[in-house]
Amino acid sequence: MKIIITTVSPTIESEVDPRFGRGAYLLVVDLDTMEWQAHPNPGVSASGGAGIQAAQFVTEHKADAVISGDFGPHAFEALHAAGVPMYVFGDSHTAQDVIACFKAGQLKQVGAATREDCHHEGKT
């Protein structure tokens, strides 16, 4: 099973980043082998639609679940359409904590966007 976690730095020891679309790194972890790979979040520098870009990344990597602190409405809509379950990490501080809690079934699955839209007007 493959999961993606938003992290502050590109290692599995990293602290988690509470933002999905603009979290610094997307950590792809294979729970069966515990192999991991960190990718810079493609949405970080987007003027708008960051969550959508990050969601596309998640589907391109065929993740079975995605874990972050926060999912905006666009990210939620995109991940929901793609059928990727979303979880919030609650009190976990590091990616390793998150993995342990996820494996123990302690993370909350998200059924709706966890925050309001932030409107970004892109440059024309």
Partner: protein, 291 residues
């Protein structure tokens, strides 16, 4: 000639200055023989238009305004992802076997429609607001855009307002911009012959005036400053204008009677008729700078 009125900081008196400038030119016109075309006033503050409260036009024309938003024919789509790749605004996403369109992020550029190898994308209009125009008793031709509540993007409404309300070749156009210095303001003041910046002599006014001047410089516009609520604050705005070579074309004092009149929906030249001559003088200064 197009004169855009902007400010940076909100609530400094853009509409006060723009409406009185328009009325002064309208009064001028009725005295001239033969009378030139009445000028055109564009309220470009489409998120909160309010110039109509002062100029009181009767709206005669109305048109919906929108953007062409992609619609994907799922039967033709092969989920190749080219549309999502080309979209700079991430308004279209291909997620496995699903394509999602986010209308609020779409700028209506049409790139996805053009690039789709299967011709699976057509465009439907997403209505964002209305354009309205009419004439006021003063003879001023008035047009404004009104964005629907909840719409995030003002720029397309402003762009279409400017296209819809086309001036005649010699008609003077006065554009009342929104506050700030972001995309809607850039779209409003772009193409103007003169940018009139209204500020107040306070640190806040100065801070935002500096930003507005940067926008004007970037767009290569001639600029002048109106100091409103003159007498409050400090000398920062005066010093800045002197250093930057920006002419201060008018000063409007901080005066309770003016504030009360504006709050009642009256214009500056109605509250203080002596300003008619001052606005005329300012207009002459602007046209001379342009020559």
């Amino acid at each position: 000639m197009r004169i855009a009125v902007a400010s940076g900081k909100g609530g400094t008196g853009k509409t006060t200055v723009a409406t009185s400038l328009a009325l002064c030119l309208a009064a001028d016109r009725t005295q001239a023989q033969p009378a030139p075309d009445p000028q055109l006033f564009l309220d470009c503050d489409v998120e909160a238009p309010n110039a109509h409260l002062f100029l009181k036009p009767t709206f005669e024309r109305r048109q919906e305004v929108g953007l062409p938003i992609p619609r994907v024919d799922e039967a033709k789509c092969t989920h190749c992802g080219k549309c999502a790749e080309v979209c700079q605004y991430h308004a279209i996403a291909v997620l496995g076997k699903k394509v999602l369109v986010f209308p609020q992020l779409c700028h209506g550029c049409g790139s996805c429609t053009l690039i789709c190898p299967e011709h699976a994308i057509s465009e439907v209009s997403d209505v964002m607001g209305v354009l309205e125009s009419g004439t006021a008793d003063s003879g001023i031709h008035f047009a404004r855009g009104v964005m629907n509540v909840g719409e995030p993007m003002a720029t397309p409404v402003i762009r279409q307002l400017k296209k819809w309300a086309t001036p005649k070749p010699d008609q003077i156009v006065i554009l009342d911009a929104s506050p700030g210095t972001s995309c809607p303001v850039v779209e409003s003041v772009r193409g103007a012959d003169f940018l009139l910046l209204v500020t107040e002599p306070t640190p806040f006014g100065l801070h935002d005036l500096k930003l507005a001047v940067q926008v004007g410089r970037e767009l290569n516009l001639s600029m002048g400053v109106v100091v409103n609520r003159d007498g409050i604050g400090d000398g920062g705005v005066d010093d800045f204008c002197e250093t930057e070579g920006l002419p201060i074309l008018m000063r409007i004092p901080f005066d309770r009677a003016i504030a009360e009149g504006i709050a009642q929906g009256r214009t500056l030249v109605e509250i203080r008729p002596e300003y008619l001559a001052l606005f005329q003088k300012m207009f002459l200064q602007i046209t001379e700078r342009e020559r």
